[in-house]
Symmetry: C2
Subunit: 229 residues, 2 copies
Amino acid sequence: MKTLIIVAHPKLVESGTQQFLKTSLANMSEVTWHVLAPKKTHFDVSNEQALLKAHDRIVFQFPLYWYSAPAILKQWEDEVLTRNFVYGTQQALAKKELGVVVSTGDPQRDFKAGSSEQFTLSELLRPYQALANKAQMTYLPPFTIFQFAYLSETEKQQLVVNYQQYITNTDFESFHGRELWFEQQLKQKIKVNPDLQKLPQILTAIQDNRENLEELGWTLSMIKDDEDE
Amino acid sequence: MKTLIIVAHPKLVESGTQQFLKTSLANMSEVTWHVLAPKKTHFDVSNEQALLKAHDRIVFQFPLYWYSAPAILKQWEDEVLTRNFVYGTQQALAKKELGVVVSTGDPQRDFKAGSSEQFTLSELLRPYQALANKAQMTYLPPFTIFQFAYLSETEKQQLVVNYQQYITNTDFESFHGRELWFEQQLKQKIKVNPDLQKLPQILTAIQDNRENLEELGWTLSMIKDDEDE
């Protein structure tokens, strides 16, 4: 799976969050980090469309400005996502995935009815969900980063792994999918550097775990069958 | 009441809808038609903020592009609506109103769950509602124009009146408010041109009507009081 990350941030270099996310993806293959340059007057439509075609998962990544993406992403949408390309004769994005990585300085608890922001991010990001719907894309659950500056080291480490999965894991939503992804990551790390003595043991442990879990799953479903009879 | 209409349309001159709306407001006082010029690189922030301060009702007017305003309005928001101006020390927009006039080439029936666009315009326009909330503004029900090109002459005449009220009527949502607005409009027309022989008669008829309606309202409320006892 190839992932295109479309980064829209007017102050990219000064953004701790964006630099952190970029670093998280070092050594990740099949990932394209595509920055929308705010100085441009117009986008090269055919270039941008070719880039979209060449990837399977498209991710809009931005800080929340007035409950939406910075203007540069909207400009990109208005210019690049032509009618024919999206839902006319070409339907070039059909069967691809659309993800949204959004960061905000406000805490998660503010985004609900009755709280200071009144709406959830799921509600505020509906225009992207509607776009995915129109383009016949699968809309992924938005990846949200609240108050990055206040995250602990442990939370940041967790963020790295969750973000990596959002970008590269075909099935990041199921436990099974996340486990398989960890196995693949470990295998690759061992391949690149066999000196990492402990990794093969961890990998075996995870695989054993998974087999045990699958057995338990079978047992549970048999018990359930008995109950249903 | 002073109304500021912020018009965001990349092809304003070619837009039949926008030209129609502009013409609808000819002779309307206390209305500022403010076009966001797409060629500008940056907005004059203090100019724009002064303009906002000088008006009571702020209206974003645009065609729906990818379920949101064209990029130029987002750029304006990102640059002009600074934190301090909106919700920091100044709260300069508090107690003002925010309206949205949005046009789309798709029919109204497409904007609901299960239909082709999946979401209502109320849902898609949440980011503006959230902005109003943050700025302590009153959010007006969005004024929607579906498939302008297919409207009949009668529908267009109705649109003129409804739009004029959305822009200039302090109370366009109640029947009473709309009636008062008609009275004012007629009075003004008679004042400007007393030769319009029939208008004073229409005005009297409307006023009589209103008095009758008020009487009926009293009678109804008395009947209800009797029932409640």
